[in-house]
C-alpha cells in the first residue's frame, strides 16, 4: 500500500514537472504581460513534433534535437507576440484571449498539416529501469525531472540575476514606471514570449518522450497548465512549481487509487476546491 502510494507519487512528480514547465511559461506571460496565452500548449506541441522529426529523420540525439526545436519555438513565440498580441495590447483583455483562441486553431491546424494526424513518441536512449527498495524508477522519468528542474532554474536565474531579467521584473511590477525609467517594454514582451515558448518546447519534447504527441494533446496540456496557475496563484513562479507538482501527484494518486478514467475530473475538482478556499492560489499574494 505505502510502496504503491510512493510509486504513484514518483510517477506524479515526473508528469508534474512537465506541468510545471508549461505552467511557468504561462505564468510569466500572464504575470508580466497580462495575457492568457491559450495557444501555449499548441506551440509546445509544435516544438515536440520538431524534436521528433529531428531525432527520427535526421538522427540527432534527443537533447541536441530539443535545443534546435527550442530555438525555433522561441522564434515562433516572438512572431506570435509581435504579429498577434501586440496589436491588441491596449484593447480589453478579452480581445487578447480571443486572439489566443485563434492562434490555437492556427497552430493546431498547422501542426496537422505539417506533421500529420498520427500519434508520435519521441525515441530516447534512456530506457533503463531501476528498482530501489520495491520502487520502480524509470531512467526516462529521472531525465524528465532533471531537465525540467534545470530549465526552470535557468529561467529563474536569468530573471533574477541578469540586467535583462531585471527589466522584466520592473515591467512586471509597474509597467508605466518601468517605461519612465527607460526600460524598453516592447523588448521585454519579446523576451518574455521567447523565454516562455522555449520552456514550452522543452515541455512538449518531454511529453513526447514520456507519453506521446498527437493532435489535441497541446490543448489538454494548456488547460492543465492553467489549472496549475490557479492552484499556485496567477503570475507566481514558485506557485507554478508547487502547483504543477501538486497537480501531477494528485492526478497520479487519483489514477492509481480511484479511477484512471476520472483522473482529470479529480484534478479539476482539486483545483476548484483550492480556488474556493484560497482564491489567490496556494502561494499567491492576497
Amino acid at each position: 500500500m505505502i510502496t504503491e502510494a510512493l510509486q504513484q507519487v514518483l510517477n506524479g512528480l515526473a508528469i508534474g514537472s512537465v506541468y510545471t514547465l508549461i505552467a511557468v511559461g504561462l505564468t510569466i506571460v500572464f504575470g508580466i504581460l497580462g495575457i492568457a496565452h491559450f495557444a501555449h500548449g499548441s506551440a509546445a506541441m509544435s516544438g515536440g513534433y520538431l524534436t521528433f522529426i529531428l531525432t527520427e529523420r535526421l538522427g540527432l540525439g534527443f537533447f541536441p534535437a530539443m535545443a534546435v526545436a527550442l530555438i525555433a519555438g522561441a522564434a515562433l513565440g516572438v512572431v506570435l507576440e509581435r504579429l498577434a498580441y501586440r496589436p491588441v495590447r491596449d484593447a480589453p483583455q478579452i480581445n487578447a484571449f480571443i486572439i489566443a483562441l485563434g492562434l490555437t486553431m492556427i497552430l493546431e491546424g498547422g501542426n496537422l498539416l505539417l506533421f500529420g494526424p498520427d500519434q508520435v513518441v519521441i525515441p530516447t536512449p534512456y530506457q533503463h529501469v531501476y528498482t530501489v527498495g520495491g520502487l520502480v524508477v524509470a531512467e526516462l522519468r529521472i531525465q524528465v525531472m532533471l531537465t525540467a528542474s534545470l530549465a526552470v532554474a535557468a529561467m529563474a536565474t536569468f530573471v533574477s540575476r541578469t540586467r535583462a531579467g531585471r527589466s522584466i521584473r520592473a515591467v512586471a511590477q509597474n509597467r508605466q514606471a518601468a517605461v519612465l525609467m527607460g526600460v524598453n517594454a516592447d523588448a521585454v514582451a519579446t523576451m518574455v514570449f521567447a523565454l516562455s515558448s522555449a520552456l514550452g518546447v522543452i515541455g512538449g519534447a518531454l511529453v513526447g518522450a514520456l507519453l506521446a504527441i498527437a493532435p489535441g494533446v497541446g490543448e489538454g496540456l494548456v488547460v492543465k497548465g492553467f489549472a496549475v496557475l490557479i492552484l499556485g496563484g496567477l503570475g507566481s513562479i514558485p506557485g507554478a512549481i508547487v502547483g504543477g507538482l501538486v497537480l501531477g501527484v494528485s492526478e497520479a494518486l487519483a489514477a492509481g487509487f480511484i479511477s484512471s478514467a476520472y483522473k482529470d475530473v479529480i484534478a479539476f475538482l482539486v483545483m476548484i476546491g483550492v480556488l474556493l478556499v484560497r482564491p489567490e492560489g496556494l502561494l499567491g499574494k492576497r
Binding site: A36, I98, G102, M105, I106, L112, V223, F226, F268, L276
Partner: protein, 332 residues
C-alpha cells in the same frame, strides 16, 4: 434610425425568416439555418454573461450538453413525451448552472474563465465515461423529434426539417426577446454597470453577485434549451460536439457579432455555423483559415460586426444629411 424604419426592417426580416423554407431549394442550407438558429439561442445566453456583465464563461458547451442529455435521457430512457423532456431540459441545465455558478462567481476575470473551462472538461469527461447512463463515446441513437401539435384544426408537424425550422426560429426569437427584456430592465443596467466597474456597483450597495448569478443561470438555461433543440434535431448524441471547442464557438459568436448587442449574437451564430462550411472548400487549411480570420477580425474590428456596421450607417446618414442641408452663402 427612425422608429418607422426600424419597424419596417423588422417586419421585412420577420417575413423573410418565415418564408425562408420555401425560398431555400437546397435542403442542406435549411439544415444549416436550423443549426444557426439553435446556435443563436446558445449565443444569446453567452451574451448575457459575456456581453452584459463582462465575465467570460467557457462552459456554454457543457451546459448545452447537460440540456441535450437531459432531454434525450428523459425521452429515450424514461419514456417521457418529447415536449415534456424538452421543456424540462433547460431547467436541468439552469439548476447545474446555479450549483456551479454560486461558488465560481466568487472569483473574477481569468480565474472565472478557467474555472468554467474546468467545469466544461469535467462534464465532457463524465459523459464520456459514465457509459451505462450516457452511452459514452459511442453515443445515444434514436432520439425522436417532438410529436405533431394540433392547434385549432391546424396540424403542425415537426418531423421534417421545415416544421423543425419554425420551432427553432421561435426559440431563437424568444431568446433574443429575453435578451432585450433583460437589457432594458434594471437587471440589465446593473449587469452593464458590473462590466464597467464592479467595485462601484458593490460600493453603491447593490449585491453584484446576485445579478451575476442570475446572468449565469439564465445563460445556462438558454444553453440547455439549445442543447435540447440540437439533440432532437440531430437524433444522435455523443459528447464530442460539446467540448471546449463549442464553448469557444459561443464566445466567438458573441465577440464576432458584437458583444453586448442584441443583434450581434444572431449575426455571430450564423457566422460560426456557416463560415466553417464555406471554408470546407479548402478543407485541409480550414482550421488555419478560421483561426487567421478570427485573429484578423479581433485586431481590425474589435467591437464586432454589428456595432461597426451600425456606426458606418450612422456616419453615412450624418454625411448625407450634411450634404443635403442647404449651405449658407459664403459671400457676405
Amino acid at each position: 434610425m427612425s422608429r418607422a424604419l426600424r419597424v419596417g426592417i423588422g417586419t421585412a426580416v420577420a417575413i423573410a425568416a418565415l418564408a425562408l423554407p420555401h425560398a431555400l431549394t437546397v435542403p442542406y442550407f435549411l439544415h444549416l439555418t436550423i443549426l444557426a438558429c439553435i446556435w443563436t439561442v446558445l449565443a444569446q445566453g453567452q451574451n448575457l454573461v459575456q456581453g452584459f456583465s463582462g465575465y467570460v464563461s467557457i462552459a456554454a458547451g457543457g451546459f448545452m450538453a447537460i440540456g441535450a442529455y437531459a432531454s434525450a435521457l428523459l425521452s429515450v430512457k424514461a419514456g417521457w413525451p418529447v415536449w415534456t423532456s424538452m421543456a424540462l431540459a433547460p431547467f436541468v441545465a439552469a439548476a447545474f448552472a446555479l450549483v456551479v455558478g454560486y461558488p465560481s462567481l466568487r472569483v473574477k476575470g481569468h480565474y472565472f474563465a478557467i474555472v468554467t473551462l474546468a467545469y466544461n472538461l469535467v462534464i465532457v469527461t463524465v459523459l464520456n465515461n459514465y457509459e451505462s447512463f450516457t452511452g459514452g463515446e459511442a453515443g445515444m441513437p434514436n432520439i425522436q423529434r417532438p410529436a405533431a401539435l394540433v392547434l385549432g384544426g391546424l396540424q403542425l408537424s415537426f418531423a421534417g426539417r421545415e416544421g423543425y425550422y419554425y420551432l427553432v426560429l421561435l426559440a431563437a426569437a424568444a431568446a433574443t426577446a429575453g435578451g432585450a427584456l433583460v437589457l432594458h430592465s434594471r437587471v440589465g443596467r446593473v449587469l452593464i454597470a458590473i462590466r464597467q466597474n464592479e467595485m462601484v456597483v458593490d460600493a453603491l450597495g447593490v449585491a453584484a453577485w446576485r445579478y451575476k448569478l442570475f446572468a449565469f443561470v439564465a445563460s445556462g438555461f438558454l444553453a440547455g434549451l439549445a442543447g435540447a433543440l440540437y439533440a432532437h434535431f440531430i437524433g444522435f448524441l455523443n459528447p464530442e460536439p460539446f467540448g471546449t471547442d463549442q464553448s469557444m464557438n459561443a464566445i466567438l459568436a458573441v465577440t464576432l457579432g458584437g458583444s453586448g448587442t442584441l443583434l450581434g449574437p444572431i449575426v455571430g451564430a450564423f457566422l460560426v455555423v456557416t463560415l466553417p462550411e464555406y471554408l470546407r472548400v479548402a478543407d485541409t487549411y480550414r482550421l488555419v483559415a478560421y483561426g487567421l480570420l478570427l485573429v484578423l477580425a479581433t485586431i481590425f474590428m474589435p467591437r464586432g460586426i454589428v456595432p461597426m456596421v451600425s456606426r458606418g450607417f450612422q456616419g453615412m446618414a450624418t454625411r448625407l444629411a450634411a450634404a443635403l442641408r442647404p449651405r449658407p452663402d459664403p459671400t457676405p
